[in-house]
Symmetry: C2
Subunit: 204 residues, 2 copies
């Protein structure tokens, strides 16, 4: 099964601007992409990166400057189904969690992201179209139900925790084991468990 991994490394992760410079955000987003590509391959599938800019990676890369929704819908129409879409900012997912996710038999399998997005999907029905605008998870559920196809909501925190905000870095340090976690530790990030829910601090 081909696994589409969309990524935008031009101006990524703007909500991390308070703790990372622009160059750092690009570098960190690339580290997360690398983790996802390793995980996809380890799950037994081949990643296809759909990027707004050329990316230096060993995977096949299609450069597509259009909005995410248009790029993914066209890509899915060109691929042999089933296919999957897995976001590039999910450094906590492991190959066994991906295998579980891919093994669900429904026509459309959806994994929500924090805040209502759609972090991963398997598409087995050719009439399904994506729309990533707004709280896309609910919209994708509705689209699948309106088509009358079978649909599953996956219950996986490793697919839900997309890394967008400083608090999300806590989860990378606590639960990660790939290049994104190493990237953060190398730059002085650590866990601060002093006040309420833990946060990250940066020493340099």
């Amino acid at each position: 099964m081909q696994i589409v991994v969309p990524v935008d490394l031009l101006e990524p992760k703007t909500r991390l601007s308070d703790c990372l410079s622009r160059d750092e955000r690009r570098s960190f987003a690339k580290a997360m992409l690398d983790d996802v590509l390793v995980t996809v391959r380890a799950s037994g599938h081949e990643p296809l990166v759909v990027s707004t800019t050329p990316v230096d990676t060993s995977a096949t890369v299609t450069v597509d400057k259009r909005p995410l929704t248009d790029a993914i819908n066209e890509t899915l129409q060109e691929l042999t189904l089933p296919a999957a879409v897995v976001m590039a900012d999910l450094p906590l997912v492991t190959s066994s969690h991906l295998q579980t996710f891919f093994s669900h038999p429904e026509d459309v399998v959806l994994a929500p992201g924090l805040g209502g997005g759609t972090n991963a999907m398997v598409v087995r029905h050719s009439a399904f179209r994506v729309d990533y605008h707004g709280t896309s998870f609910r919209d994708h559920l509705t689209t699948a139900r309106d088509l009358g196809v079978t649909v599953r909501e996956a219950d996986s925190w490793r697919l839900m925790i997309d890394i967008d905000e400083p608090d999300d870095l806590v989860e990378v340090i606590l639960h990660g084991d790939g290049s994104a976690r190493t990237w953060l530790l190398d730059r002085g990030f650590s866990i601060d468990a002093e006040n309420g829910r833990v946060s990250v601090t940066r020493s340099r």
Copy 2:
């Protein structure tokens, strides 16, 4: 299997103080507890509430004013194992997700919370002791491994999303279907999807 549900309704959910008064925080925490108790019963098990204060609920309530760690360790020693602990601020978990969680066969099954806590556990080995201080999830994993018992990390976002901060209310409105969601909607909360990751707004 007996399901221990610890709750503190005296000064609950202080990180929601910016959007909820003290009375509202108590009322909202009670609504979440009610959701969890309904879910536990629907999963086929009996809840035992361990509370710092008397609570008006149909479940059996043990009042225990000690810190959470002491109260849970003593409760687990008094119960016939296996037993489980499920936190009272998990209004998004459903009975089928709980059934899946309870069905894992390991001696210790752990569900992490956002920020490194432990939101739910199944204990089948009498030597296991809890320690909820700090980033307890990693500590509980270590404790179980040091005991040489089998352990599983559950991958469930419905068990991971504990409701502590304003952003967490987004998930209740998006994915909930019980009294906690109704409580929020009745008080004017709604989803604001204008800027970046969605947030909640309050109209009254």
